[in-house]
Structure formats: C-alpha cells, structure tokens
C-alpha cells in the first residue's frame, strides 16, 4: 500500500514538471543570468565581459538620470494607481449593489475594459497626434478661444506626464474593475442582509464588510499593479521620442534599461544592473504591501476576533 502511495505522489511531480521546467528555464535562469551579467562589463559588440564587481551599480547611483527615472516611475505609477483603484472600488460597489440594481452591468464592464484591448502602439500614436502642434486639441482650443495660439503640449513636462498617467489609468481601470467586482460578488449576500437588518448605512457596509473581505483581492491588485507599474515601458516610450522627452520627465526604469541595452555598443551589463535594482525595489515594496495588508487577526490568535465577519457568524 505504501508503495502505491509513493507512486501517486510521484505522479503529482510528474504533472507539475512542465511548469517547473518552464519556470526554471524561462524564470529562474534569466533572473540568475541577469544578476551575473550585472556584475560584468559585458557588451553585445565586444562579446567579452570582465567581472567588475559592483561598479555598474556605483555608476548607476551616481547617475542623475537613473535617480530621476526611479522618481518618474513611482510618480507615474502612484498617480495612475490611486485614481484607478478608487474609481474601480466606487464603480464596482455601484455595480454590485443590490439596492441600486444598475442595468447592463456587463455592457458597462465591457466598455470600461475595452481600452485594455487596444495596442499600446496605437494608443500612443493616437495621443501623440491629438496633442501635436497641428493636432485636433490645438485646433479646438484656438478656434474656440481658449488659447491665443497653438502650443507644443508634449514639450510641457506636467502635461506630458498627465497624458501618460491618464492613458495608464484609462487602459487599466477596466481590468481592475473586473477583478474587484469578482471579489465583491463572492462576498456572501447574507452579510449585507444582516447588516441592513441592523440598520447599517451603505458607507458602513462598504467599510466594515466589503473592504475587509476584499483584502486578498486588493493585495493581488496592489502587487500586480506595482510589478506592472515599475516595468512601465510602452506608453512613455512611444508617446514622445523614446528617451523620456521632454526633459526626461517620462523616462522610466525600463526605458533607461532599454537605452543602455540599445546603445551603440549594447551595454548589457549596465542594463542588467538597472533590471536588478528594479527587481530588488519591486520585491521589497511587494513584501511591504503583504506586511501592511496582512491579516492581523491571524497572527494575533489570543485576542478575541472582532471583525464583522466573526460577529455575523456568531449571531
């Protein structure tokens, strides 16, 4: 009997083997390779890399552009993520609200999700053309008297950043709504019914029932968005000159990494160093999110549980 049990376990390994192999080949090995490359001065055009210790990193930390890229990445991510999660929570709360009973939720959700299906290249080209000197926005603003003459919108640091932030928000809030709504609809209805019987207001129910039970979903959204945000590349790369213009204001970590990689000699060592630092930064922040949003009730077991969930269960 024992023998067959082992065999059964053995089959389990067998089934996860494809994933493990794919992970080792496409996940862990590239990570290891990036780490080791970041300690060399390897370039594509010389093909010989010498071990140079942490020199790539010291150069990076002395590089104003790198510090600026990190600042830009955080700024653009935070300013698009906060409205994104806010709007997603609000709309999802409305869409799933039993009292409001909004019609055509599926259609709205599809419309909100639609921008995500567009190709970033197309969106960036579209916005670039909208905001160009002879573009429709200038034509509108001047002809209706809001502006004396045409201006180069994408030469203005604030406007360019705002455009990137808007595009990122617009492309991704539909996705967030879908995930949040899935989380909200999985919350048992009887909790809300009980709260209503107790005379709780909509705001109270949102704060005391929806948010706590949505926490795992929120952690998931936070972390995936953080990972995506730290690797932001396509829209800022394509919107202006691919080098973070104007004044490097939309230069992100990944654009800088790509610039180092695509430079005339192909500095893979230096590009890997950017990737490694982005990786470390993202990992620390993701762990921080887990820590801050962890289920505190689980860790403190000797205290009586006081969540609404517990109360409603005991009722």
């Amino acid at each position: 009997m024992k023998f067959t049990k082992i065999n059964r376990n053995y089959y389990g390994y067998f089934f996860i083997a494809p994933f493990i192999i794919a992970f080792l080949v496409f996940g862990l090995y590239p990570l290891y390779n990036t780490l080791s490359l970041s300690l060399t001065d390897y370039t594509l055009m010389t093909r010989k890399g010498e071990y140079i210790g942490l020199q790539n990193f010291t150069v990076l930390f002395a590089d104003q552009l790198f510090l600026k890229a990190i600042g830009n990445t955080w700024l653009i991510w935070l300013l698009n993520f906060i409205p994104q999660i806010g709007v997603a929570l609000l709309l999802s709360a409305w869409f799933t609200n039993n009292r409001l009973k909004i019609k055509g939720v599926g259609i709205w959700r599809a419309i909100f999700y639609l921008p995500n299906l567009l190709i970033p290249v197309v969106i960036a080209a579209l916005f670039n053309s909208f905001f160009s000197f002879y573009g429709p926005i200038n034509q509108f603003m001047v002809r209706f008297g809001y502006q004396a003459e045409a201006v180069h919108y994408l030469q203005n640091v604030e406007i360019t950043r705002a455009v990137v932030i808007f595009i990122q928000w617009w492309m991704w809030f539909g996705q967030t709504i879908i995930i949040v709504m899935a989380g909200m609809t999985s919350i048992p209805v009887h909790l809300y019914e009980a709260a209503m019987v107790d005379g709780a207001s909509a705001a109270q129910m949102f704060r005391r029932i929806t948010l706590p039970l949505l926490k795992p979903i929120l952690i998931f959204i936070f972390v995936t968005s953080l990972v995506g945000g730290m690797q932001m590349f396509d829209i800022p790369y394509l919107l202006t000159d691919g080098r973070g213009a104007p004044s490097n204001s939309i230069m992100t970590n990944n654009i800088l990494m790509y610039m180092k990689f695509a430079s005339s000699r192909g500095h893979i060592g230096a590009a890997s160093a950017v990737a490694v630092l982005t990786f470390i930064m993202t990992t620390i922040c993701a762990l921080g999110i887990f820590f801050v949003l962890r289920d505190k009730d689980d860790t403190v077991t000797n205290k009586p549980k006081r969540s609404w969930f517990k109360k409603s269960e005991t009722k």
């Binding site: 055009m45 590089d63 552009l65 160009s132 000197f133 002879y134 045409a150």
Partner: protein
C-alpha cells in the same frame, strides 16, 4: 520500470517542445521573405535552364528592407549555382541590429548584412565584419564617391561598401519662389540661399511676403546639414567634441523658431507631411504653405513625391545653403561567415558592379525581370528608376537618360540625377561615428525644450551632457558652451 521510461519519454517530449518553441521563430520569419529556391526543394523554383539538382551554395543575406532582395535575385540569375536566402527584419525599434548581435557566434549567423547609416559605423568599428580590402581596386575603377568608402572604413580597414550615395538637396516650391523671391530659376534661387546668412534673409522675405508661408517645415531639417559641416566628429580620442557648428545650429534654430520662419511641425509628423501638399491648416484656421524641404536622394522618391499630392511640377531642387548627406545602406560580410568568398562576391556585385548599379538605377529590375529568374518572387518586388548610385562612372553614364522622365517633369524640368551628381563629391564621410545616433537624439530632445522656451540655453547644454554622460560613462565630457 515502465514508469521511469515513461517519465524519460515525457521529459524528452517537453524538452523538444521547448526547443521547438525557441528555435521556431527564425524559419517562420524567414519563410515569407525567402527569395524562393530554398534548399529543401531540389531547384524546382529556379530559372528554367539550370536543372542541376545538386548541392547549391547557400548564402544568407539579412537586411531591414526588401531592396537588396531585388539584387539578390539578380545575383542568382548570374550565378545559378547559388541560393541566396534573404531575410528581412524591420529596424523600426532596433530589432534588426539586436537580431544580428544575437546571431553572432551561433550557427544562424548571416553571411552578408545590410547596415543603415545610423548604425553602420558601430559595426565598422567593431570586430565582427570581414576585411573587404581586396575589393578596393573596384572602387577606383568605378570611381566610387570617396565619402561612401570612408564611412565603411575604420583605421584603414574597409569593411562595408554601398551601392548608394546619399547627398542631400534643397527642394523648394517654384510658385512661392516666383511670388516672393521674384524668380523660380534654380541657379538664381541657389544664389539667394548660398549660405546660412542669406538663407535667413530669404526666410524673412518670405515671411514679409505672406505671413502664412513658412520657409521650412522645421529647423530640425537643418540639423544634418549643420553637422555635416563640422570640423571634427562627435568623439575624438574618447572625448566628446562640441564643434562650433553645433552651437551655430542651436542659435540658428532658435532664430528660426522665434521669428516664425518654421511651421513647427516635427519632422515625420502629420503636419510636416501636410506641408508638402498644401493641406497644412494652422490652429487659427488659416491654410499654411511650406516653401522648402531639406531631403537627400532617397527623400525624393520615398518621402516628397508620395506626399506631394497635386503639387507635382511646382518643385525644384538645388544644393541649398550647406552641402550634406543623410542616410544610405551599406553592405558587409560577417567575419564568421563560412562562405566568405561567396559573401565577398555578393558584396562586390551589390555595391561595386557597373552592370548591376546601372540596372538598379535605370529601372531594369522590373517585377517581370525578377520573375524570369525566380517565379516565386512577390508581385510588388521591383526597383523603380532613380536611386542615386555610389559610382561616379555609372552616374555620368546614365545622367542624361533621366531627361524627360517622370521625375524630370515632377521637378518642373530638372534632372535630379544631374543635381545630385554635382553635390555628391562634396560630402564628407569622416564625420560619422558609431555613437552619433544617441548623442544627436539626446541633443534634439534638449533642443526642443530650449526652442519651446521651457528651459534656458545653459540648462539645455547641461541636460544634454547629463544624458550623454549617462549613456557613455567612459566618455570625457567637456564644459558646456557659454
């Protein structure tokens, strides 16, 4: 036992799937661009006569456009025992360069690569291209323009040749010239814009003549001409050189912007193209016109004419205020190539063969011509007449054949070949370096901020130098100009 065999088998299967997934890319991308006559089917796709189903010598050629495919087929026509496997990889975002870099040292390494002006110098300065010095005598025979050879040469070793020369020209609207300058005669207009100072005077005249006329689309078009007249390249002995021409250009661009001599439409933007066919409308609702465009040889058939709408015949070309060159495609052989002799032969055919260059420039390579050699050629594959070739001998022989051609009519009765032929020998090829692209793009970005009044001049220099320092940490950066 059976289970372990099973597991080994399935592991093998997974491994082979992974390998297939990794390796699958290149044949798939090759297939559509392949010039036919692939090694697998025994010569069935070849020109009628040669029935030798024996081993054909395979030559792998990579390029970023389909132009060289035309010559590859012509090469097969002359060498029936050679099978040219042509691969096209776009270079919009540097995929092409990255792909060659990745192929070095592997079995996929191409024998011959096409190299664009923006990155040819990177490759000529590195060690991966074969020394093609043996072909130099051919350049003397054909009187290849010296700048073309110079670009393909690094420290006395010539590694790449080009079939094109790409001198720049100044294209202007005859109607606006007549209206504002009182003449549309090329020689007289050239006298008016013979240097930058008089060019600025003409710009003022045109503005006074009609406030809705701009002299150029953008002052960015003069970036290349100014840079072409520097005394030194960007990098000399590991240090960045800020030539007085660079400062002169920045001041010139600021003048053009502040005085409203340019339409402010960025190069390659919709507005810039709209200026070529009078469809440019300002934000104030007024139609605007652009007097002139700075474009090189290839700019005429590929940029200006396709976008000119019904303004054909109203254009003329002259040398303009500054001689310059812009772009071009070079061809080199990889040092790793197992067929180096054949690769050399191919490079010689493409860039240094009088018959091929003549056929190339005079429109002999029609689709029917190519189909006769290889019936599998795509329908659009052909080379129209008019590309400006690198051999002075060929240029002189064929110049008169363009009199009365379509291009001749489009230019209001001017022979473009003749005009380029005058400009070509003045080009300086020694100024290109492998790092130009990054340095220049960084400067353009800072320049645009300065021209738009977002930052002052000192900040502009600082911003540019900071980016250059970040991209080239080993480069010695001079103090910014005052």
């Amino acid at each position: 036992m059976r289970k372990s065999i099973l597991s080994v088998l399935s592991l093998l299967m997974i491994a082979s799937m992974l390998l297939a997934a990794c390796g699958g890319g290149s044949p798939a991308t090759e297939a559509p661009a392949d010039s036919g006559g692939s090694s697998d089917s025994g010569g069935s796709s070849d020109s009628g006569g040669s029935s030798d189903s024996g081993e054909k010598q395979v030559l792998k050629v990579w390029s970023f456009t389909n132009e060289i495919l035309t010559m590859a087929i012509a090469f097969e026509g002359q060498n029936p025992d050679v099978d040219v496997q042509f691969t096209m990889i776009p270079m919009d975002a540097g995929e092409y360069q990255t792909k060659i870099k990745a192929a070095i040292g592997t079995a996929d390494v191409p024998d011959v690569v096409a190299l664009e002006a923006a990155f040819v110098k990177e490759w000529v300065e590195a060690d991966f291209l074969a020394d093609l010095g043996d072909l130099l005598p051919l350049t003397e025979e054909l009187q290849t323009y010296p700048s073309v050879v110079e670009v393909g040469t690094h420290e006395g070793v010539t590694k790449a040749y080009s079939y094109q020369a790409t001198p720049g020209a100044f294209f202007y609207r005859r109607s606006i010239a007549t209206e504002c300058l009182g003449t549309d005669d090329p020689a007289e207009v050239q006298a008016l814009v013979n240097d930058i100072e008089s060019f600025l005077e003409v710009a003022e005249t045109i503005k006074q003549c009609n406030p809705n006329y701009f002299t150029v689309g953008t002052s960015g078009e003069l970036f290349n001409p100014f840079l072409a007249n520097r005394a030194q390249p960007w990098i000399v002995d590991g240090a960045l050189v800020i030539d007085p021409q660079v400062e002169a250009y920045i001041d010139f661009a600021k003048l053009m912007r502040d005085n409203g001599y340019e339409s402010q439409a960025n190069q390659w933007s919709e507005g810039w193209f709209a200026g070529m066919n009078d469809s440019l409308v300002g934000a104030d609702g007024q139609p605007k016109k652009v007097f002139s465009y700075f474009l090189p040889t290839w700019g005429l058939p590929y940029v200006l004419i396709p976008n000119s709408g019904d303004t054909g015949g109203d254009w003329a070309m002259i040398n303009g205020p500054l001689p310059y060159q812009w772009g071009g495609t070079w061809v080199g052989a990889m040092a790793d190539s197992p067929n180096l002799d054949l690769a050399k032969e191919f490079v010689a055919f493409v860039a240094l063969n009088e018959e091929n260059l003549t056929n190339w420039a005079t429109g002999v390579y029609t689709n029917e011509y190519l189909k006769a050699i290889d019936p599998t050629v795509a329908d659009g594959q052909a080379q129209a007449a008019g590309d400006f070739v690198s051999s002075q001998v060929v240029v002189e022989k064929i110049t008169s054949s363009f009199d009365g051609s379509e291009l001749y009519e489009w230019l209001g009765g001017q022979n473009n070949y003749e005009a380029f032929g005058v400009a070509a020998p003045n080009v300086n090829g020694a100024l290109l370096t492998g790092s130009d692209d990054a340095i220049q793009r960084a400067l353009q970005s800072a320049r645009d901020q300065y021209l738009n009044g977002e930052i002052d001049k000192a900040t502009m220099w600082q911003q540019w130098l900071d980016v250059v320092r970040s991209e080239f940490p080993d480069l010695v950066i001079p103090e910014p100009p005052q």
